[in-house]
Symmetry: C2
Subunit: 169 residues, 2 copies
Amino acid sequence: MKLDQAKQEFIQSWGILGSQWGINRTMAQIHALLLVAPDALSADDVMEQLQISRGNANMNIRELISWQLVQKILKPGERKEFFVAEKDIWMVAMRIIAQRKKREFDPLLETVTSLQEIEGDGKNQADIKAFTETMKNIERFAKKGDKALNGLLTANENWFTGTLLSLFK
Amino acid sequence: MKLDQAKQEFIQSWGILGSQWGINRTMAQIHALLLVAPDALSADDVMEQLQISRGNANMNIRELISWQLVQKILKPGERKEFFVAEKDIWMVAMRIIAQRKKREFDPLLETVTSLQEIEGDGKNQADIKAFTETMKNIERFAKKGDKALNGLLTANENWFTGTLLSLFK
DNA sequence: CTGTACTTTCAAAATTTTCTGAAAATAAAA
DNA sequence: TTTTATTTTCAGAAAATTTTGAAAGTACAG
């Protein structure tokens, strides 16, 4: 297989993977493109290589920056902005985990916690008990996951590879 | 807050969470509804409570069954089918992890492995090297993740709570 | 068999998400 | 300041996804 063909295939796969995980396909493709680009690319480069509009490119690049997966680079003498992706896959994974935890996991935890205060009217005590138990179980599980994720986020790859992974043999 | 109101809120939150993770909102809502239902529900119950069509209910219930998150129950004497959700949150999480790993993670691993065989034409050796390195890094990381997930999937909640979590203090 | 109760399918409709492109905004250069 | 290069915004268009509902399929009961 030729290099350009392989890059194309990688960009497509990464895009599909992203879209299955609730991430805009184009955003994932731009990320893939920058991951395999030898140098920083401009918005125009991205537009041309992925055949997308300026607005689309701009919006998704900025989203990638807010996820801390891409950085803006200013080249001396150039007016254009250039972009590079975080190339360390461990860092990429940790940034994604951190974002999703903050945006989705933490709010869920708040919700299930708050839903445990139910007014009882005497008649449906058993039902209330059952519902509250379910919420408590989700909360307990989520708190454990929270702890594990926080641990992972403050760990580094060596620790993951060595200490943690050895537990799974 | 009243019980029914709390259930509604939980169903909505679970639905939003699902949709952010690439799971059909209705599928997540049906799952939530069954999670907080005291007894097994029929397709008609689901249709009525979520105000959705028969086709939609049928399709999403069957998808939940294929994810092993919901089970079909046959009540003696009744012709209708009834459905119950797996209520153990640990099991729910493991089933989801197992499905997604199989459907998305494993294929990615295959792709990045296969993309490492690039025809070199002498001129772009450095570029090929860089691309192959990136694929190798993703592969290495994915293999470690694979191992960790397999470990988690064969573990049980106690082990997670005790042994693993203690590492994160 | 025939009728009845229910489940499944799928084409078309509705909805949601994403993308475009031109106009407005910004900022550096002249 | 004015011109020019570049980025940002956002309303409408396009595309993708989800939902509907009626018809077809299945299977049990009589």
